[in-house]
């Protein structure tokens, strides 16, 4: 019996502004690359079926479930995770809004929600209440009952729409 040999491939990817070159087995997920290889444990994994959104990261600006995306497909892309949002000590407006609205309890879903909200506001800075509900419906939270999260994203949208400087990359 031979062990199942994984074919590996070299990828070049920019993660939170840092150039990464890695030899990755083709089966390695983006979440595994981030968490186990790069030490970026802010990205959380829960359902592993693209249902809960906890593992959401941005790949070239688009929200992606990192639990089921393959690291080998990242070659030539830019990845943004929750760790890359803040500019030094200054939080992203979405992060500030989640703090202000008490939009978290255990916090395990928070990075995924924050990344999805960033993707929403990058796409539609003046997101309507319906757009917020539609986009955020793809993330699960088991603690808060969602209302504070909706409030947080609404707050962040209002702030983005006010013409406050956007400090995400």
């Amino acid at each position: 019996m031979t062990s199942p040999v994984a074919t590996s491939t070299v990828i070049r990817v920019r993660v939170n502004g840092r150039d990464v070159e890695a030899l990755v087995p083709v089966r390695l997920t983006v979440a595994e690359l981030l968490r186990e290889r790069l030490g970026l444990t802010g990205t959380k994994v829960s359902c592993e079926m693209q249902v809960c959104g906890a593992c959401t990261v941005l790949v070239d600006g688009n929200p992606v479930s990192s639990c089921t995306a393959l690291a080998c497909d990242l070659d030539g892309t830019e990845v943004l995770t929750v760790e890359g949002l803040a500019q030094g000590r200054d939080l992203h407006p979405v992060q500030e809004a989640f703090m202000a609205a008490n939009a978290l309890q255990c916090g395990f879903c928070t990075p995924g929600f924050v990344m999805m909200a960033v993707a929403l506001l990058d796409t539609c800075p003046a997101a309507s209440a319906d757009e917020i509900r539609e986009w955020m419906d793809g993330n699960l939270c088991r603690c808060t009952g969602y209302a504070p999260i909706e409030t947080a994203v609404t707050l962040a949208a209002a702030r983005t729409d006010d013409g406050s400087p956007e400090d995400d990359q």
């Binding site: 994984a6 255990c106 088991r142 009952g145």
Partner: protein, 749 residues
């Protein structure tokens, strides 16, 4: 923007907060669990040769390899082996564990462990299990010393894991004499208490010591079981619990820790075991229940008797279910004047995932039938359901159960608040839509055992480190307990740091559950602060050369003789340098304010208005009203967060959540087919009321929150849907097909 009300918000929005699943140890190996593919079978053989040949595999461990670790565990009924021994009792039970260098290697090899089974008859529901001669456990587990909180394993000749009873008066005679008797039977589904961080544990066994990092809600309980299993002193077992990614009771007591520890022992490496959602659904769920309530009323619509029969589906192992059943019995009849009562309960072993604690702890199961029963009775008696409840509610100070703490809440006032909120926002009529409203109330003997220890260390600058073993799983206890310490010590909240639960460093705590932390641990923090003031006074007196009783403490300052000193000045003066610290310790046990059990009654008081789509049977929650009857809200935002979160989990049980078995196998072990509430399911209007009447035994009159707002929700939704449709539901969840069937019955009737 203003800062939020939590001290952990910054690290959680930046992804910097550490959870057990993020932790690593040097030279760490990874484990994958081989799970049973039979629900009830003898293990005829295990072939691990192929698995052992996989590159990177360090060990393939089965029950036969565990030697002295092969003892059963279970804090009430010791019925559970770390790895199945001789036979398996449910689909998904751990049979072997593979340890390898990487998670991929472990998972690959786990699929190559071949287990031969000799099938046994499978019992997947409580009724057939209790009627069957086939025993899931061929023996009773009545070893001496297993009593836990007054609940002890009982010998059993059938598939009952536990039985219990509570009675006073003569219910049967009173029911026979009643003017009206109303009977309700309701089925509460098998529910998975999904926490987004699934169970995981990292264990490092070394000769004479064991270090575990895990998702345990109750690290001290886990320490005790591991110490027994490994024949180690308590002090040699270190259980460390960083932030927990959701608990809700589902992470109470011992889960994966023995497996990780045994794998470390067998492989000689630190080993991490994780579960996916499917593995988590094979680890623990809540007890399903069929509950029948018969209530007798006199001519004045006053309750003369209640007779309640509770049958739990407890799954393959008892875990905490005997205690859940005991509490369910206590919580099933409601906060009403009931002169004659009989409640009988049985928890049945079945060949399904073992059940244990889940938020509400037996209360929602009983309330579903008994509060629905109150609505059915109101209909039969021609009385408004709120008026029927008012006529029968207990008043503050009344006895709920003889010998227990009298009722420390004003339920009539809570009910008024709910009705007022519901009345102020009645949804407008819509064609094709039926509307229904209902209220429900519960009272739970909460707080668990009032045993808690807190330590406050004041440093030379007057700042404070607070050490407690209460675990932080999102409820915000580190924030609330820091607020209590800050208030007692007259320091800013920013000057209080709260340590992570770690049995090597933080002091004893019973559990983190039963909504107990603010009340019971809060009292321990207050006591520790009082002890710290005593110590500061003594040091101030010694430094000033005056008797202790001449040192006055006022508004955060100490006054030896004519001087005014800050605590920091007292510390620095006593040590003679800008250094040192003074420590206060607070201990709570069954004494004083917490002598009488329960430490408090946790109230659930909710109202709902629902819409039912006549064409599809889809239910929409138009308005949810919760009353947090918490005595005093140390942090009102956190209390409201608990109430909405708990109520939302109640809505999940009411409308969507159910583990479905088809034969021996769970058919929906994933979050596509096991549907939990999503953002767009949230009620269209939410009213969260806090009732602060200072009537609790905790700090500043506080009582607990956390479970209360879940407990009455499934019942309230069932009653509201029943009113909308015109047929009373008999089982949850009220999915569109079920509600469509009710609509069809109503039409046919």
């Amino acid at each position: 923007m203003t800062a939020g009300p939590r001290s952990d918000a910054w690290e959680k929005v930046t992804g910097r907060a550490r959870y057990a699943v993020d932790m690593v140890m040097p030279n760490m190996a990874h484990a994958a669990v081989v799970r049973s593919e039979r629900a009830h079978a003898r293990i005829a053989g295990i072939d691990r040769a192929e698995a052992e040949a996989v590159g990177g595999v360090i060990a393939v461990v089965t029950a036969d390899d565990l030697g002295h670790l092969g003892r059963r565990f279970g804090h009430i009924v010791p019925d559970h082996y770390v790895l199945a021994k001789g036979k398996v009792r449910y689909y998904g039970e751990p049979v072997a564990v593979v340890v390898a260098e990487t998670p991929h290697q472990a998972a690959d090899a786990a699929g190559l462990v071949w287990v031969d089974y000799d099938d046994l008859p499978v019992l997947t529901d409580s009724a057939s299990a209790l009627a069957s001669d086939v025993l899931i456990h061929e023996q009773s587990y009545t070893e001496p010393g297993q009593e836990f909180l007054g609940v002890a394993p009982t010998p059993s000749a059938d598939n009952a894991a536990h039985r219990g009873e509570l009675a006073w008066g003569d219910a049967e005679t009173a029911l026979a004499a009643a003017t009206t008797v109303v009977e309700t039977t309701a089925t509460f589904p098998l529910v998975y208490g999904y926490a987004m961080e699934t169970y995981n544990a990292l264990a490092d066994w070394q000769p004479g010591s064991l270090h575990v990092v895990s998702t345990a809600q109750h690290p001290l309980m886990v320490r005790k079981e591991l110490a027994r299993m490994f024949s180690l002193p308590l002090a040699a077992v270190r259980v460390e619990v960083p932030y927990i990614g959701g608990g809700y009771g589902s992470k109470s007591y011992t889960k994966l820790e023995p497996l990780a520890a045994a794998a470390s022992w067998a492989s000689g490496r630190p080993v991490k075991v994780t579960t996916d959602v499917e593995g988590a659904m094979y680890t623990t769920r809540a007890d399903g229940a069929v509950v029948t309530v018969r209530t007798g009323f006199d001519a004045g619509a006053r309750i003369c008797a209640r007779d309640i029969d509770i049958r739990f589906d407890t799954g393959a192992y008892a875990d905490n279910s005997p205690l859940v059943l005991t509490k369910s019995i206590n919580r099933s009849f409601g906060p009403y004047r009931i002169p004659n009562l009989r409640v009988r309960g049985v928890a049945a072993y079945t060949n399904t995932t073992p059940a244990s604690s889940y938020r509400g702890f037996g209360a929602p199961q009983g309330a579903l039938a008994s509060e629905l029963n109150m609505d059915m009775a109101a209909d039969r008696l021609g009385i408004d359901p709120v008026e029927l409840r008012r006529r029968n509610l207990l008043a503050p100070g009344d006895t709920i159960i003889d010998g227990k703490r009298p009722l420390d809440a004003d339920l009539a006032a809570d009910l008024d608040a709910i009705v007022s909120a519901l009345d102020s926002h009645r949804a407008a009529p819509e064609p094709g839509t039926l509307r229904g409203r209902a209220v429900a109330v519960t009272a739970s003997d909460a707080g668990a055992s009032p045993i808690s220890t807190a330590q406050v260390r004041m440093h030379a600058d007057g700042s404070v480190t607070l050490l407690v073993s209460s675990t932080e799983m999102g409820q915000g206890s580190r924030t609330a307990l820091a607020q209590i310490a800050a208030r007692e010590l007259h320091v800013d909240l920013d000057s209080v740091a709260v340590g992570q639960s770690d049995t090597r460093f933080t002091p004893f705590e019973w559990t983190t559950g039963a909504s107990r932390t603010t009340t019971v641990v809060g009292l321990a923090v207050q006591a520790a602060c009082a002890d710290l003031w005593d110590n500061l006074r003594a040091k101030a007196a010694e430094s000033a050369g005056v008797p202790v009783d001449e040192v006055v403490v006022h508004a955060g300052r100490l006054h030896p003789a004519a001087e005014t000193l800050t605590p920091a000045e007292v510390i620095r003066r006593w040590f003679g340098v800008d250094a040192g610290e003074v420590v206060g310790v607070g201990v709570i046990r069954r004494d004083g304010a917490t002598e009488m059990l329960p430490p408090f009654w946790e109230i659930g008081a909710v109202g709902v208005e629902v819409s039912v789509n006549e064409a599809t049977g889809e239910v929409t929650v138009e308005h949810l009203v919760t009353v947090g009857d918490v005595g005093h809200a140390v942090n009102p935002e956190l209390v409201k967060g608990q109430d909405l979160g708990a109520a939302t989990q109640g809505l999940g049980i009411a409308l969507w959540e159910e583990m479905v078995y088809d034969g021996e196998q769970l058919t929906n072990p994933n979050l596509i087919e096991y549907r939990v509430p999503r953002l767009r399911d949230t009620p269209r209007r939410i009213t969260s009321v806090l009732a602060e009447r200072g009537d609790g035994a905790g700090p500043y009159g506080a009582k607990g929150a956390g479970e209360g707002a879940l407990n009455p929700v499934p019942a309230a939704v069932a009653a509201a849907v029943g009113r909308a449709v015109g047929v009373w539901p008999t089982e949850l969840p009220l999915t569109p097909p079920r509600v469509w069937s009710l609509l069809h019955q109503a039409g046919a009737g």
